[in-house]
Amino acid sequence: DQQVKQNSPSLSVQEGRISILNCDYTNSMFDYFLWYKKYPAEGPTFLISISSIKDKNEDGRFTVFLNKSAKHLSLHIVPSQPGDSAVYFCAANKRGSEKLVFGKGTKLTVNP
């Protein structure tokens, strides 16, 4: 039973437009959420995180929104750039646990 779901395996956007990547979770005990970016044959790179006490966190072109009542979070990238093309993983953690639970990832393609 997947606790973290990324229902869109892929997303294609035009350079300069907004990319919106979505993630849903089922475990209400999760209180810390992270987004990672991964290129093929490389390790995931940490992008941005958000604690459950917030509903928004922004870092440059990246913004993460958290809707606790819907158990949903999203990553917005604006403006999108071709170098953003990668697989994006959503991950969740609950306080006191060392374990991150990952979604299956969404492959983002940004077209020039």
Binding site: Q2, V4, P9, D31, Y32, L34, Y36, A41, E42, G43, P44, T45, F46, S49, S51, F89, A91, N93, R95, E98, K99, L100, F102, G103, K104, G105
Partner: protein
């Protein structure tokens, strides 16, 4: 910038061979992790360590073993490789702190067992 290293980056090996995947970090992180990932799938935790001489199994059952004799070093060993072990192996580390932890990943080892 995360300073976590994995060697080898790629390994092609025959069935039955013993292999050790190396992972080192220079950030002084006390916690280290091994994940396994197949294409199009989520990362699965196979081992983790709270610190020196501490190792625990993760959520995904694995025939591999790990050791943590030094803080910075967390090698993973397969005594007898099989084609089912073909996968990408990712090492990560984090620091125990006041706030919830962010795990930082190495570049991974892509293993192919023939």
């Amino acid at each position: 910038e995360a300073d976590i290293y994995q060697t080898p980056r790629y390994l092609v090996i025959g069935t039955g061979k013993k292999i050790t995947l190396e992972c080192s970090q220079t950030m002084g992180h006390d916690k280290m992790y091994w994940y396994q990932q197949d294409p199009g799938m989520e990362l699965h935790l196979i081992h983790y360590s709270y610190g020196v001489n501490s190792t625990e199994k993760g959520d995904l059952s694995s025939e591999s073993t790990v050791s943590r004799i030094r803080t910075e070093h967390f090698p993973l060993t397969l005594e007898s490789a099989r084609p089912s072990h073909t996968s990408q192996y990712l090492c990560a580390s984090s620091r125990t702190g006041k706030y919830q932890e962010t795990q930082y990943f190495g570049p991974g080892t892509r293993l192919l067992v023939l």
